[in-house]
Structure formats: C-alpha cells, structure tokens
Symmetry: C2
Subunit: 256 residues, 2 copies
C-alpha cells in the first residue's frame, strides 16, 4: 500500500482543494470524511475512487478495506489533519466522483420534497436533510445560493442521509413550475400570521415545502410563486424558530 | 466613564473567569454577551451590575446606556476579544448576578415542562430552550450533567428565551416525583418502537417531556421512572433525529 506522510505532497494538495467548490469543479470529485460516510457511499454505488486511511483506521476496518476495489493509500496523522474538517479527524477519507445530476423530467416531480432557498449554515442544511430522510420525504432540492451538498460541514451533518434521498441542485423557480404542472402543492414558509397555519393543512404524500434563509427568510420572488404560504403559530415570546426546527415540525406534520 | 484597555487588567481577568463554572460559583455572577441579551436581562429585572462596552457599541446604544443605573465601563476591542465567545464579538457585555434559584414547591410543578437529561451540546440546549419558549411551555429543567444555562455558548443559543420561561437546575428524579404527585404525566423519549408513538398522545397543557443525551439517550434510571416513554416513528433510513429536532416535533405536537 502506498503511503503519504507529508501534507506538502502534491496529491494531498489536490485532495485538500476538494473541500472548496472551485477545486471540486476543477477535478470533478469531492472528499468524504469518516468511515460511516465512506461505507455508506460505497453501499450507495457511488464512485469512490480512492480511500485514504491512517494506519490505525486501516486496522479497525481491515476486512472491509481489503475488499475495496479502488486505490487504497495510507496517510499520516499530519495528512489526515490537513484533509479533515475538524480538529481531531477520524483519519479515513474517500475521494468520490461528483455524481452526474440525474436528469429529472417534469413528470418525475411527485412525492414529498424539501426545497432549500438560500440556506447558509451547513449544520442547518445537514440537519434538514437528515430530518427529511427520517420523515420519509422523497428528495431535497438545494436552490441556488444554498451551501453546497459537497461542503465538508454539510456532508458531516447529513450523516449519510444524502444517499437515502433524491438530491437536486438548481433554480427553485424552475422546479416549482414542474411541481405545479403536476398538481403538487408548493408550500412556502414565512413568519407571518397572515399566512396559513400549518395545522390547517391535511397531511399528504405529495407536496413541496420551501424553507428560507436563516436571517431573511424566503426570497419574495419565490414566496410569490407558491401555492400557499404557511407559518408556525408561536405561543410564547420567542421571535422565531431555528429554520431546521421549523422544517422538522412541518415535515413531520405535513407528510402522511 | 472608566476605560479598560488591557486584557491583563485584573478585573478583565476576573470577568473572563465567569465563562467557566468555577469562576461563576466563586464570584456568584455570570457574563452575558450582546446588546440583545443584555437588554433582555435588564427588561427581565435581572441584576445587571456592570455593562462593558466598546466605544462603537456605546455610540449605537447611547440613549439606553445613559439610563443604565449600574457601572458602565468602556473596553477596548482587545478586551472584548478576551471576554467574547466568538472570534468577532459584538463588543458589549453585561456582568449579572446569578439569580437565586426560585424555591419551587411541589404544588408549583404544573403546566408543560421540558426536562434535559445530560444534554451536552450548547447549541442543542439553547435551541431547545428557544423552541420551548415558542411552543408556549412553562419552563425547562436542566438536569444534573446537562451543560450549564450560564455557559456562554448556551446563553448565545437561547437568544433570551431563558427570560421568558421558568428555568430550574437540579436532580430530575426529584422533580419527576413532584410532577407525578400532581398527576402531571411525565413522558420519556427513546429510540424504541416498543415505546408509545407520540401521535397517540393527545395534546394538553400539562405534561413533562424528558429529552436525553445526544449519544446515549436518557439514563435508564430516569426512563424507569416516567409515566410513559414516547418515540417518533422514523419512516426513511435515517438512524435517528437530532435531539433538538425531536424536541421541537414533540413539544409542538404535545402542547395544546
């Protein structure tokens, strides 16, 4: 097994660039951290080309790693620190091809979908994807301006749920048009008691729910294009709910 | 107005210690960061003894600060960095007396309460307190082993909701006994489909809901002492929900 010790190694520098959008687009790959996520990616038939592992992690997962068909490279703790996105990385990484975006047709846009409109915080995004998975949603659409699904912090917070759902990136207005042409209701969300309380909507298997930016909410041009806009009645004195909490309450109540 | 420039100043060293439990217990005070929280504390009749402010923040809030009855001290950006809990602190702090814990009697333990059993992550704790406020809960009990309500990261995440609710710290088993003697049902939570689905519980104004540690769930000795244990049915392939998301779904569905 090849071994890379120095974080100044040219390949390490290249993998490190996969933590950023520019690098991912250049090499058409992303980097996935932790055995849990790497093994979920392999199980989900993703193209994991290379596994990078410290000696210690290799010993832990020897049996599974011996069966890995791609390139297996041992890395030092120093290299693991360079590639990791936490101060104490586990020490195992996968270098994965960016999947081709499935070509969804208008008629595919059925079921229950979560749409993210310019959500910024990786923890919120990851938690919402994980919650969408738990709620039995069909998929999640990352609208333009939302942090990337391949951002290392988003990857960590999704905990592998991205492999259990359909994930799309793109212009939300385009997708909303497709839902509406299929008679799938599109629910916006706003902090506005003039909107419809979510408790007045019957649970169903087919709807699209849009969550907006943490500070500014949904973009006006998207609020204008929804079937209905919902709000969560606030009973106490809190000014608002965290966006991921609001998404959790809505998905678990709207999804049959 | 007195001005403190150096973070080596003895008073700055003392205030800095208020970020830790040992320092808070020694001086019987805590430190609150940001104008939003300091002004909420003043409005909630908390004993804000000292306000520390950079020149810039003083200009922003001059009118309100001129009416402040306690000690007002100007601090340098360097001191603000030392006292702050983020890399770019806003630059305004309050030094507040630890409130005496209200002496709740058994007969006071009515209404809807959230109980935190060894919850570790300050963001989760703060988000749960904020969500409890929004759901119209009566109060939150921080069980032994849960991060302190005066931890700077918990304070930040609560966003002032601690001033809108009753907050108690202590041994959960003691408080559970008091709820049960008042016929208030105590609902534990577990990742166990043998438990009762939360959808089978009618919404009410009087219950106690216990949320457990992020990794280990509730302590067995507490699960044993509840009226019923609830779970949230998971429809997809996610292994679990984030504890704050689960608490949000439960509070918004159980609280009438």
């Amino acid at each position: 097994m090849e071994k890379i010790i120095s974080s100044k190694n040219e390949r390490v520098k290249q993998w490190s660039k996969l933590k950023n959008k520019k690098g991912r687009n250049k090499y058409n790959q992303y980097i996935l951290e932790s055995w849990h996520l790497v093994s979920e990616a392999i199980n989900a038939q993703q193209h994991v080309n290379i596994i990078l592992t410290t000696e210690k992690q290799f010993e832990f997962h020897k049996e599974a790693l011996d069966n890995f068909a791609g390139e297996l490279i041992e890395i030092s703790d120093e290299v693991a620190k360079t590639l990791g996105s936490t101060s104490t990385p586990q020490g195992i990484f996968g270098v994965v091809d960016l999947p081709k975006q499935d070509s969804f047709k208008a008629e595919d846009m059925n079921g229950a979908w979560l749409l993210l409109d310019q959500i910024q915080d990786p923890g919120n995004i990851g938690t919402m994807v994980r919650t969408a998975d738990a709620a039995g949603m069909t998929g999640v659409i990352f609208g333009d301006g939302t942090s990337s699904q391949y951002n290392p912090k988003v990857l960590r917070a999704m905990q592998g749920s991205q492999f259990h759902l359909k994930i799309i990136e793109g212009d939300l207005l385009n997708w909303i048009e497709k839902f509406e042409s299929n008679d799938v209701p599109v629910y916006g969300t706003e902090l506005n008691p003039q909107a419809v309380s979510y408790t007045d909507i019957a649970a169903s298997d087919s709807f699209a729910l849009v969550m907006g930016n943490e500070g500014n909410g949904m973009q006006a041009k998207i609020l204008d294009r929804t079937t209905k806009n919902l709000y969560i009645p606030i009973k106490g004195q809190a000014e608002s709910l965290n966006v991921a909490i609001a998404a959790g309450i809505l998905m678990f109540n709207l999804k049959k």
